[in-house]
Each structure stands twice: as C-alpha cells, then as structure tokens.
C-alpha cells in the first residue's frame, strides 16, 4: 500500500505538501479542521510548518503571518507544531522557535540568543510546578513552600519585563498546575490544604499580572478544555514532559486565540438561525406560542445560547439573524415571546426570508462594511452549515451538537471573537453598526435621494482644533485617501507651525437619526495673498460620502471668510491615484478655475472664489455650529 492509496487528513496533507500547499490553501485549512487527536494535530503542524510551506501559504494570498517564541520549564516539543497547525486552520502561517529544555530563564537573562532574531509577536512561556518547587530545598517544609509561592509572581513579573525588553511582543504566562505527586507527598490533609492554599494564592497573583501589564496575557490552565493535565508518567521520565498531549492541545488552542486577537483577527459578527437554534420548534408551524425557550429543558438550552449571544453583543460583537421564515412571524416571535432573552434591539438585522443563507450573510457583511471572514454562522441544521462552508469557506461555522444543551458552549468555544483587551470603542461598536444598517435600510426604502437625505436628519458641527480632537485630526489627514483634495497630510508638528503663523485647523462632526458618526472631516486654512483665505486641504471620511457634507463645510468656510472681510477664498486640487472622483468639487461649490500653466504641468489645479455669492448650504443638513466658530485668519 502506498501513501497515495491511503485516506485520511494526514496522508492527504502529505500529498498536498508535495503538490505545494499554495495550490489549495483552503483544503489545508479544512483538513486540519477534521483532526480531533492531539497527536494528529502535531503531525499536521510538522507537515505545514516548514519555511517553504509557510512561504507557499502566505504567497497564496489568503494567509496572514505571525511569529511565536516558546519557552518552558519542561519538554514541550509537541506544542509549537500544534500551534502551527491550529493557526493554519485559522488562515495564519506561524513561524515558531523554541528555547532549549528548561531554558526559559537563562534564554532571557542572556539576551535571547536563540529566539531574539525571530522578533516574535507572541511569546509563550509555559511553566509547570518544577519552575516553582525546584527552588524549594525541602518540599515538606511548608513555610519554605509558602515563601517561595508568595514571591513567585513578582519574580515572574520581573522576568516578563526583561522578556519584553529583549524579545518584545505579547507575553503569554499561565497559572501553574500543581502535579498530583506534589500533593500526595504530604500525608495529612491539613498539610495538603496549606500547600494548596499557598499555591492558589500564587496563581491568583500570576493572574493579577495581566491587569497590571498591558502586554501580558495569563492563560488560566484550570479553565482549559482537557481531560488530563499531567504527562503520562513514562513520558515524564523518558522525555522530561510535564503536560499531556491533550493539555498541550488545549493550551495550543488558547494560544491560537491569543495570536489571532493580537493580529486583530477577532471575528465581529454572529449570524444566528431562529428555528431550533435560538428557540426550539419551528415558529412557522408551531406558532409563536408553540416555540420552546425558557423554563425547563430543552427551553433552558435555547435561553442559554440567547444569553451567551446577548453577552457577546454587549461586548461589541454584532448580532444578526438569518432564518428561513416569513418576516412577519419571525419579528413577532422575537418581539413578543415573553421568554426571549435577546431583545429585538440586540439584533442589527433580522433576515427572515427564503433566500440561500450565504447570500444573506454576504449581504450583511457588505452592509456592515466588514469582511465575510469576520462572520460566524450559527445554525442547528447540518445542511445549512455545509452550504455555508461550501459557498463562503472563510465564514466561521461552529459544529453544533445534536442536543441543544451543548449549543452555548460549542458557540463560545468556536466563535473566535476573543480580544486581548476590551475598549470603549468595542462596547459601542454594535450601536455604530446598527446605525449603519439603519441608514442602508432607510436609503433602500426612500424613493429619491433627497428624501433620504432629509430623512437622515444630519447635524453638522464644526469645531476648532483643540487638545481633545488633535489626535483624530492628525489621523484623518494621515488616513484619508479619497476625499483628500491636495494630498497634503498635516502632522502634529506641521499643524503647530502653521497655527503659529496665523493658520487655522478645524474639524467637523456629523450625527444623524441613527447615531453619531464622530469626527468625520478636517480642514486647514492658511492666510493667502492680498487678504485672501487659502484652503490648504480638506479631508473627509468615506463613511459620510454622498450626503453633501463637504458642501456644508466649504459653504461655512466661505461664509466665515465673508463675515471676516476676506478678499477671496482660494483652493487647489492635486490629483492623486485615489481622489479623482472629487476633481470637480471646487467648481461645484462655486469656485472658478484659475490654473496657470505652471500649475497645469504638475497636475495641481487652482481655484478662486470671489465671495460675491456664497453657494446655498444643503437644505438637509442642520449646521449646529458652523461659520460663527471659524476665526479670522
């Protein structure tokens, strides 16, 4: 029998490796996803983790890259390949390197000779109890043990600080499991309790390091999903292993989530099915009164999943529904069933229709302006899951158990929405996206553009540059490519220099009936020739295109110039590779082109407004603070 005849993910991966992993990177991910045993995951990692294989995957265009360094107090040979495989399954090609056996301290103390040039983004330091107890002369002397435990977290913090200095990256520490033999050598329960008490306090101190140090993540090993912790006794003795393959696999999965989060790959949106997913039964057949949610099992299982979804939503994960149902009855069930945990407001969109679900998911992604690879699809129906995996392989599709009692945990484990640290923006994100879909729906429902613009009830507010908005103003100049009329990107220093010479910078904020869009535009005004004002540049976020906001802004500038007795307002447009569609902006705003021959050759067009007749301001935008806050130059 030759390799080619055998079936199974590992032989197929080997065949793919020979053909070149880049020929079918999607298949690489799918094959690894089929693996259930830690030893197979390790084998897969060794197959796809070579430099050549990594290059093939990244050059395929569908893989991201990361670099991970491993340090430990025991033999962890299987761990790096497991992480490589788990990350490959997630579309990330990881370069890994491990320090030698029990070199975790020495490697960092000596300036990282083994790991330094890897420049890791993530540094995993996996410790077992020998890291703590080997420094205790007599394991039965509980006072010694207590002292060692009490000082260990501080020692580890110092190590993490040094590690960050030499290696950089996010440091991943762990709570240290206490091995069975360390407990069992004490004959009395009082002694074991004292040992465990000191040990738990130490682990609690280690966990607290995550709160104090922004670049430290602590994995609580007590929470890992593994049937065993300690290595097989023979492997402890033969190979110096401390942890079982199952433990290492569970830790590898945790590290995979950290590495993804560190790359900013957290998934953003959960798309949920209704019938037999968010509630038991089929609402179209059973009626709103007949669906099962809340109360005793199985209703409790559906409530559990709803509760999880709601809590993810409260932390910035966008929630939407895609269900094969009539929209009226779906909405009725969601809004009126007394046992619903999720409220209608928790959902940015409810797609109840008879279209293929991949169409709904793709359309939602477009409306929310996120990638389909940021979507998670939750559906009890294996056929729907299969269709989604086939049509949109980049969508995360958690495998669901047959019984609803396991739904919530399955989704929690597979969703991949993990973040290193939750920010205020994350919490507010759902509101922002809800507003975005609201605008899209309003546009679809309006029969003409002007009606839509009026219905939006936009409010524009200008503000001078100040301490609070300066970072965002610099960011707008730096990041804006399309509505960027001269390509000039003012940095903080240049802004200070220009304002020192009498120039002015302003920002604009836009809100509408769906919420606040935040600071969406910035402009630079410079003193021009003969008492004229010169617009140095205007930049505006693409989020608010096609609403005539730019006309309200420049109109306010013209009115302010008139009010302060300026002789004219001049402006220019410099073509870049991204701003072509705004080449006609100044003429539309009532400016006359005065490009001279010198300007024409370098592609800069000059414009002039004599202020005789400032253009009308767009009627659908209420300007709450406008020309009156723009100072004389």
């Amino acid at each position: 029998m030759t390799t080619a005849d055998r079936r199974g993910p590992i032989p197929e991966l080997r065949a793919l490796k020979r053909a070149g992993l880049g020929t079918d990177p999607g298949r690489v991910r799918a094959l690894i996803a089929e693996l259930t045993d830690p030893l197979d995951l390790e084998a897969a990692g060794r197959l796809v983790g070579g430099a050549k294989q990594r290059t093939a995957l990244t050059e395929s265009g569908s893989f991201r890259e990361t670099r991970i360094a491993f340090l430990a107090s025991s033999t962890i040979d299987p761990l790096p390949p497991m992480v490589v495989a788990a990350l490959a399954r997630e579309g990330v090609a990881a370069a890994t390197r491990a320090a030698g056996f029990d070199q975790w301290q020495l490697e960092v103390l000596t300036g990282a000779p083994e790991l330094g040039d890897l420049e890791p983004r993530v540094v995993s330091c996996l410790l077992d109890d020998r890291a703590v107890l080997s420094a205790v002369a007599d394991p039965l002397d509980l006072e010694l043990v207590e002292r060692r435990c009490a000082g260990f977290a501080a020692e580890l913090a110092e190590w993490a600080h040094a590690c960050r200095g030499t290696l950089g990256g996010t440091v991943v520490l762990n709570t240290v499991p206490l091995s069975p033999l360390a407990r069992a050598r004490h004959v009395d329960y009082a002694g074991r309790a004292r040992l465990a008490s000191a040990w738990h306090r130490m682990n609690s101190d280690i966990l607290a390091l995550a709160a104090d140090h922004a670049s430290v993540v602590v994995v609580d090993t007590a929470g890992l999903d593994t049937p065993t912790v300690a290595a097989d006794d023979r492997m402890r003795h033969i190979a110096g292993q401390a942890f079982s393959p199952h433990f290492l696999r569970a830790y590898a999965e945790e590290l995979t989530r950290v590495a993804r989060a560190e790359l900013g790959l957290a998934r953003k949106c959960l798309v949920l099915d209704l019938d037999n997913t968010l509630w038991g039964g089929v609402v179209g057949d059973d009626g709103v009164g007949g669906i099962r949610v809340g109360g005793a099992y199985p209703g409790s299982a559906f409530s559990e999943l709803q509760g999880l979804a709601r809590d993810l939503g409260r932390q910035g994960v966008i929630l939407a529904v895609s269900s094969k149902n009539d929209p009226d009855i779906a909405e009725e069930a969601i809004t009126t069933h007394p046992e619903m945990v999720l409220a209608r407001e928790d959902l940015v969109a409810v797609r109840a229709d008879w279209r293929p679900k991949p169409d709904n998911v793709a359309e939602l992604a477009r409306e929310l302006n996120i990638g389909t690879d940021a979507m998670v699809f939750v559906d009890d129906n294996p056929a729907e899951r299969e269709l989604m995996r086939h049509a949109l392989p980049e969508v995360t599709v958690p495998e669901m158990p047959a019984d609803p009692s396991g739904y919530a945990l399955s989704v929690a484990r597979a969703a991949g929405v993990d973040l290193l640290r939750l920010t205020r923006e994350d919490r507010g994100r759902a509101d922002m996206y809800r507003a975005q879909t609201g605008r899209e729906q309003l546009r679809a429902g309006s029969d003409n553009l002007e009606g839509y613009l009026h219905a939006l009830e936009s409010r524009l507010s200008l503000e001078p540059l100040d301490e609070l908005n300066s970072a965002r103003v610099v960011q707008l100049f730096a990041k804006t490519n399309q509505f960027n009329l001269t390509g000039r990107r003012y940095g903080a220093e240049e802004i200070a220099r220009i304002t020192g010479r009498g120039g002015g910078f302003y920002a604009a904020r836009l809100s509408d009936r769906f919420g606040d869009n935040g600071l969406i535009a910035a402009l630079a005004l410079l003193p021009g020739d003969g008492g004229a004002w010169e617009i140095g540049n205007i930049v505006m976020s693409c989020r608010v295109f096609s609403r005539d906001v730019e006309h309200a802004i420049v109109g306010s500038v013209l009115r302010a110039a008139l009010r302060h007795g300026a002789s004219a307002v001049t402006a220019s447009f410099t073509r870049t590779d991204r701003n072509a569609k705004f080449a006609g902006f100044y003429p539309e705003a009532g400016f006359t082109e005065v490009t001279d021959t010198a300007g024409a050759t370098d592609g800069t067009r000059a414009f002039h407004h004599d202020l005789a007749q400032p253009p009308p301001l767009p009627a659908w935008i209420t300007i709450t603070r406008g020309e009156e806050i723009i100072d004389a130059l």
Binding site: M1, T3, R14, L39, A43, L47, D77, R234, P245
Partner: protein, 84 residues
C-alpha cells in the same frame, strides 16, 4: 493490518518520508529525520493506534523497521483477534 505495514505507515506519516522506501530491513537511523524526539512521537502514536502500551526497552533497542514491527506484533495480533 500487519505490524510491518503499521510501522512503516506511521514512520512515513510522522517523518513525512516516502513509504515505498520503508522496507523491514531499513535501518531506522537511516530514515531521514529519525532522532530521539521523532522516535518518541512514533512510539506514542503507535500506542494510540494500538490502544496499548508498548515495551519501551524493546522499542528503543529496535534498529530496523522490522525490529520495530516485531515489538508491535503481539498487540497487532491481539487486535486482529478482537476484530473478528
């Protein structure tokens, strides 16, 4: 499955070497990538496949793929029996 097939299959998969070149008289030391770490991987993998703990000393003493297969033999036969 015969013990020789199982041994060559696992060595081929774990070390990613061509299975056709793995005859029973092949010296393990001559297999590309064979080292102490990979030897342990093969051991643990075989034990999982057979659902039994192998004689570590005998496994360590094995010099050829055939020697290794001999270590598996009692467990492979036991399993074949159980399958019937």
């Amino acid at each position: 499955m015969r013990s020789e097939e199982l041994a060559s299959e696992v060595v081929a998969d774990l070390l990613d070497v061509d299975e056709d070149g793995l005859s029973p008289d092949v010296r393990l030391a001559d297999v590309e990538g064979w080292d102490s770490v990979n030897a342990l991987r093969v051991l643990v993998y075989l034990e999982r496949a057979l659902g039994a703990e192998l004689d570590y000393d005998a496994f360590e003493r094995a010099r050829t793929l055939g020697d290794m297969a001999a270590v598996l033999e009692p467990h492979v036969s036991a399993r074949d029996g159980a399958d019937l």
